[in-house]
Symmetry: C2
Subunit: 574 residues, 2 copies
């Protein structure tokens, strides 16, 4: 395509609301147009990228025996009522009435539609397992759309649903799909994407993984072992602690006037916070009951773990006095029996704690939970820390990082099949409920994430496999007859050879042409110029600056072809 024919416009300035690289470059480079909050139209350059990503997804889904289907964007509320999600999901789910007054929803995910399609069709064990997938528009009325294509309300998603007659078969296929996801990310040029265990949230089910592209601008906190392959989302990362081997001390009540934080108290007592017990008070959403979470003073409560343990949403407690709690001086010893108490596993590591005495201006020193409180249940409700102990290899090699979630996979179990009454006849003639896995990747978010991973200060550096075009042909001084003749000839021969070329023959300065090319991010650049022609060469360079050569004019075509092939192979052969 000629650059002049491409519908796009580039901007010099960065819009005020753009904070991350992909958002900045995709707005400045004319990749997309904001239509409404979290809603974009995609220009041709982006559609070319997303179409290539979709093709890779299709190939990898077909390779693991996926069958492509299409579910509707608009669904009647009925099937969402069957699964219970019509009522359980808040206003991320768009609900409206059609012209006849029927309740309708916009699909934000398609488990219900998948079960509805499968339950009438797959009624014998012989038809299992199978996987169906679609690439389709979804709408989630996100409260905080942000970061361009990273967090939007409307998006194209590849979502897949597998159906199985046993947990073992689901686990077998889940592993296969995990590998397919690794191939998808590698083929899209981000082999560095890692998978981490995650909380399955509103999707239900137990085992789930998120695929994360590690980047400081990511929304998710990750815990990664530097030494082994342990990786987890902060929300669910298991914590283990080394024993502090303090031995017991003598229990004493000490005056700690006006010291309301455990840090103040420990400083006053000249003690490290890790030899103290911190109390954090919540209330449960289900019944407003107070819950005191005790954790070692140097650690923080992980509210996702606590919520999962309590099986209730929680919120910061109000009016502690009403519950008989003395704010700032709460401790395990002498706390009202009516209050629910949770001990973090970190409290097993020491036998000699500083802690609140449940009385204003007083703390204990020398508290041993075992001796002074008795047998308690220890629960893992803490946040993993930098340099913490890896629960797999046991070394102090945990590292905290941030990531963008570019995909996720879930072992759903029977959450949807049971609630929606899907049954099959098993070998023995009995009716059974199949179990499901589901597997999603957002197309636009993946494109933006690739840009986050691969850019420099001037623009994106698209991997050859998903680049909008493979070669950017720049004719400097296309008013020069020799330049135009050579560039035109290369353009035609490369296209005839099946190579995608964006041909810039505008009569503009080299500076503007190259900065436009930087924003377009095409991985291979070919420059035809009067100076090059005088020397009998064209200049070929990679957008990532790892390569630049002046190639003899008559070898240029073969060199370009070879470079495109090797750059494709380099990614695909990972």
């Amino acid at each position: 395509m000629k650059f002049t024919a491409m519908l796009t416009k580039r901007y010099k300035d960065t819009p005020a609301d753009c904070q991350i690289a992909s958002h900045i470059f995709m707005i400045r480079g004319g990749y997309m147009k904001n239509v409404g909050n979290g809603i974009y139209s995609l220009f041709p350059i982006t559609k070319r990228i997303t179409s290539k990503i979709e093709s890779i997804m299709r190939e990898e889904m077909d390779r693991i025996d996926g069958q492509e289907v299409l579910f509707p964007v608009v669904m009647p509320a009925g099937i969402w009522r069957e699964s219970g999600r019509y009522d359980s999901i808040a206003n991320e789910l768009v609900r409206f009435k059609d012209r006849s007054g029927n309740d309708m929803v916009l699909g934000m995910t398609h488990e219900e539609a998948a079960v509805q399609l499968a339950r009438e069709t797959a009624d014998s064990y012989q038809q299992f397992p199978f996987m169906i997938y679609q690439i389709q528009t979804k709408f989630r009325d996100e409260p905080r759309a942000r970061g361009g294509l990273i967090r939007v309300r409307e998006f194209t998603m590849k979502d897949a649903y597998s159906f199985h007659t046993s947990k073992e078969d689901l686990e077998r296929y889940y592993a296969i799909c995990h590998k397919a996801y690794e191939r998808i990310f590698a083929r899209c040029g981000v082999p560095e994407v890692i998978s981490v265990k995650s909380d399955s949230g509103m999707m239900g089910g137990k085992v789930a993984h998120e695929f994360m592209l590690c980047t400081p601008v990511g929304e998710d906190s990750l815990v990664v072992c530097k030494d082994c392959d342990f990786r987890a989302n902060m929300e669910t990362a298991e914590c283990v602690y080394e024993n502090l081997n303090t031995g017991e001390g003598e229990l004493k009540k000490v005056a700690t006037p006006e010291m309301k934080t455990i840090e103040d108290v420990c400083a006053y007592l000249n003690s490290d916070t890790k030899y103290s017990i911190k109390a954090v008070v919540y209330q449960q959403e289900t019944d407003d009951a107070y819950v005191v979470a005790f954790i070692r003073g140097d650690l923080e409560i992980n509210e996702v773990k606590l919520r999962n343990y309590l099986k209730s949403e929680i919120y910061p407690a109000q009016e502690l006095e009403k519950a008989g709690l003395t704010a700032g001086f709460i401790g395990p010893k002498g706390i009202s029996k009516d209050i629910k108490v949770v001990y973090d596993v970190s409290l097993k590591t020491c036998d000699n704690y500083v802690c609140g005495a449940n009385e204003a201006n007083c703390h204990y020193t020398g508290l041993s939970i075992r001796r002074d409180i008795g047998d308690v249940e220890y629960v893992d409700i803490g946040k993993a820390i930098e340099g913490g102990i890896c629960p797999i290899c046991g070394k102090k090699t945990l590292s905290l990082t941030r990531g963008i979630e570019v995909g996720n996979i879930f072992q759903l179990g029977d959450k949807y099949t049971a609630s929606m009454g899907m049954k099959y006849i098993d070998k023995d003639g009995t009716l059974k409920t199949p179990i499901m896995g589901c597997y999603g990747i957002g197309v636009g978010r993946l494109a933006a994430s690739v840009c986050e991973a691969h850019h420099d200060e001037y623009g994106p550096i698209w991997p050859m496999t998903i680049a909008p075009w493979q070669v950017q042909l720049c004719a400097l001084r296309s008013d020069n007859e020799s330049v135009k003749a050579l560039a035109d000839d290369l353009y035609e021969r490369l296209q005839a050879a099946g190579i995608e070329v964006l041909y810039d023959d505008r009569q503009i300065s080299a500076g503007v042409m190259f900065s436009d090319a930087d924003l377009t991010g095409i991985p291979l650049r070919v420059v035809v110029s009067p100076k090059g022609i005088a020397n009998g060469t064209v200049e070929i360079s990679k957008r990532d600056k790892s390569y630049m050569e002046k190639i003899e004019t008559d070898k240029a075509f073969d060199s370009i072809k070879q470079l495109v092939k090797s750059m494709l192979d380099e990614i695909n052969n990972i």
Copy 2:
């Protein structure tokens, strides 16, 4: 793919609400699942068909320099308010509020989004013309979804929008797009689709064509000349009439007691209805004013034409007496001057009419409009008739038929660009408003229409270019080792050769296998059977029954390959 692995189920009985072939076979053959009124999920077999149709569309759109984009399904009301359609379209347009209370719509078409994308980008005459297109989900809250995929509420559409700086350039490109549409339909196996001039309806603009597949089950009435290439939608088909050359008669008032229809009156007077004037009374929606439409007694009023002439919606008149009209006896002579009167062009053909006398139980005979009424404006408001005169070739060769609209193209003019303030700087430095064309094809409706055009009593006969698979391989008695070995070998070799094979190796009766194959509609069938093996042959046949041969086993692979190729070429080389 193996038949057993395909997610689908076939049904013996035709559901009660299925009336047309495509609906019947696509439900019975497990092509789709009804999710709600006019909303379907597509099974893998259908997605394979629609994906092929989409690929053909993409190729043809790219070939005429189209650039693929993606507009959102959900749009803020703002841009629809700019064009005026937020208020002018009734409840086919789904409106809802998002979580922040903003008015949103579901895209039922994307002119607004196209102008919004283009208006910031294309601001110089040098950037024109260009065409952008997408293949995307649309939702129209149709009052009468029916006929399976023929008339739905949610559908996938290929919609394209071209932008031009002159009417001549729009007309030039419109003709190019018309040809691309002909290629799309031909490549999808329905070269018989015709284009007819149409009323542009809510799309605005003046010149428009509908692409129609002629079939008795179509919703649209068409007027087609048997002798030349005149084709029009009944809604807009121009009518011409031959002069009846009656000469003038003497104006007489005659008693016609209790005769309320023009047919009764003419029978009583022993006159042909074509020598009479029929009156049909409407009221305008804009102001409820009464309108009397006069037309020759043998013809019918075309309400679309009348509405367009009046520039108002119309409805059958109520309470004629209130307006001073004598129901059953209304005629041109003596009618109240306060009533709006419209004369059809058919009334120019005779000078000696029977007509109402605007007085109970009385008609005139011998009325001459020229002599007795004076100069009147004649307007074309009649319906074309079978055997009527072709407005192009002048012969009495008009034929009425029915058709399914499978695509449409519109010269929109500046309706959207002007209302939405799109401007470009012309050569002379002045700001001008570009003009647009738009071009749509519904993917699912086209698939169903192909089935309407190509089926027999047993199922669809998919054209090779869009068939879900190219070859159906039936292994009769796959428990027979020789059968299985030969069928397996063919399956693998054909797939390796890039041929799409659906392989049925179920151990079922030949009858069930063949009737399933009929419903699957794959154009080429290969049967491996014990009997064939004994004779050293496999049986190859076309689904449309035009070919059946027993081919020597060792020549089967080459024959199949050759047949697939020739069946593809047959369609593509039209």
